[in-house]
């Protein structure tokens, strides 16, 4: 089933659309949510996953097929921020990623509407211009909240190498963002 068909079904026949969406993307959503939330509380995890598909249905009118983003990516984005919200409610005082590792050293403006548009575009370009496997490592760490050891196992490299690449990747990204005119 194509993304286009799922989107149409979600708009016209939510039950059928959601059933197909869960069939196709349930596994990915579960994976994203469980990376962020953990798997110890099945009830919270299921609640979070169903929230993801509810938000997908609720916001499907906003999804633009012509902007060249796959539905799976859109769903991953919803899954990520939904799971992060859940986690912050569960553990308000525990950072998902340690602060020293999570600080880019520059303060990007995403509050103003114009700055949000420009900075989102620059951030996209800057991350996508990172060399592989640095880009994948960066995404696994900061998008999917993988632990360093998990990234090492996933990509068959040492944990030390992951740490080095993350350190260098952060530095490269910071320079790249400034070069591209990021609004601070």
């Amino acid at each position: 089933m194509t993304d286009k068909k799922i989107i149409k079904l979600l708009k016209t026949n939510p039950e059928k659309g959601l059933s197909n969406a869960i069939d196709l993307y349930g596994g990915i959503v579960k994976w994203v949510c469980s990376k962020i939330l953990g798997t110890s509380c099945t009830q919270d995890l299921e609640e979070c996953i169903s929230d993801v598909f509810f938000k997908l249905w609720k916001n499907i009118d906003k999804f633009d097929l012509t902007c060249n983003v796959a539905l799976s990516s859109y769903i991953c984005g919803i899954a990520r921020h939904t799971a992060i919200d859940y986690r912050r409610k569960q553990h308000p005082n525990i950072e998902l990623i340690p602060l020293e590792e999570n600080d880019l050293g520059i303060d990007l403006d995403f509050a103003d509407e114009l700055a949000l548009k420009i900075n989102s575009s620059i951030l996209q370009e800057a991350i996508d211009s990172l060399q592989e496997p640095d880009r994948s490592i960066f995404i696994l760490r900061y998008y999917f909240c993988y632990k360093v050891k998990e990234i090492a196992l996933t990509l068959d490299i040492t944990a030390k190498s992951v740490e080095n690449k993350l350190y260098r990747g952060k530095d490269t990204l910071k320079k790249s963002l400034i070069e591209r005119g990021i609004i601070l």
């Binding site: 869960i22 983003v69 984005g77 996933t154």
Partner: protein
């Protein structure tokens, strides 16, 4: 914003194939959701959708029909029996148990007889039967090149139904299709029924059916889950688009009762404003007396007949809500004579009819 994980909220994940990531040894991997798990997630999600009130979704479920206190009979239509002789297979869809019940169904029906043909497939909309808020439409799908249609489950890749008056579309509709049992599996024809309900009055409006790509289901298993989630779920029988519009024009034999009774449903105060009953369905309009959302996904209604029979089995049910106004409807699995209803029970409250 200084934190990288916060910034990543504005990053769109493109050209990143998550399915290629190897699962950790202590996790099930990406495609680890079982059929049971998928079903549980679907049910939870549909509850949230039904609570939201953005759209109306039919939910096939059993429910218990209840009692209520009737305050005023708002309007009372008189049945006109046997004005139309509907197709027997169509009538049997409603499980009539006597000639009286068959006559009752015929009194709700109308002949449509409209066809559209494309790429060797004809859609013949034959008859409709309904009441104020629900309609059932019988249509045949005929292969003009005499291809035998013998599969148990046919469908279209896209099935869209809209209802429009002269000036606007009706919002808040829910529908599904059922294929009738084929009495001749070696011919070129199958019959299907569209089951639709709405929070608005249907009679006097036009219905448009739009279908794309006549197909069979591909890899569905008994529990309704696709065995291969990455493959298409349809096998194309004939490509094309079919569109047909016809008027919804049958006699409205719905009995409407103004109730105006306050009830408590799951700690939420509601007021049942009106109850509408026909031989094939019941719908009720309620006011939400709180500012909070009311989850009516588990609503239970039982109809008690004057002969003591309690009817707790329905074909489907649905809820439409805009926050303050809630319309709940349910379609019966059997024919019910509204005049023989003693009372309805809703959330433990008896509504006398």
């Amino acid at each position: 914003m200084k934190k990288i994980d916060d910034m990543m909220q504005n990053y769109k994940l493109v050209d990143f194939n998550v399915s290629k990531i190897k699962p950790m040894s202590n996790e099930g991997g990406i495609k680890s959701m079982s059929g049971e798990e998928k079903n549980a997630i679907l049910q939870q999600t549909l509850k949230k959708v039904n609570q939201d009130g953005k759209a109306y979704t039919p939910r096939k479920k059993r429910f218990i029909l209840l009692t209520a206190a009737l305050i005023t009979i708002f309007a009372l239509a008189v049945f006109s029996f046997a004005s139309t002789n509907l197709n027997m297979n169509f009538l049997n869809f409603f499980n009539p148990k006597s000639n009286t019940e068959t006559n009752m169904l015929n009194s709700l029906g109308t002949i449509i007889d409209k066809k559209v043909t494309q790429n060797g497939i004809t859609i013949h909309v034959k008859e409709a039967l309904g009441d104020r808020n629900s309609i059932y439409v019988l249509f045949d799908i005929i292969s003009d090149d005499n291809t035998i249609l013998s599969d148990k489950y046919y469908t279209f890749a896209e099935e869209l139904v809209s209802i429009q008056s002269k000036s606007s579309f009706v919002h808040g509709i829910g529908y599904f299709f059922e294929q009738l049992e084929d009495d001749n599996t070696s011919d070129n024809k199958i019959s299907m029924v569209l089951c639709l309900s709405s929070s608005e009055k249907l009679i006097g409006k036009n219905m448009t059916l739009r279908f794309t790509d006549f197909s069979t289901y591909n890899t569905f298993t008994d529990n309704g889950h696709n065995t291969n989630s990455s493959s298409d779920i349809y096998n194309l029988v004939a490509s094309g688009s079919w569109e047909i519009t016809f008027p919804i024009d049958y006699q409205d034999n719905t009995l409407v009762y103004r109730v105006n009774k306050k009830v408590i449903y799951e700690d939420a105060p509601l007021k049942i404003k009106t109850v509408r009953i026909s031989p094939v369905s019941l719908s009720m309009t309620l006011s939400n007396l709180t500012l909070s959302r009311v989850n009516m996904s588990n609503v239970a209604i039982t109809i008690y007949m004057k002969n003591g029979e309690a009817i707790d089995s329905t074909r489907s049910s649905g809820i439409h809500s805009n926050g303050f106004r809630i319309v709940f409807d349910t379609q019966f699995n059997e024919v019910i004579d509204p005049k023989e209803i003693d009372y309805i029970e809703f959330s433990g409250e008896k509504i006398q009819i």
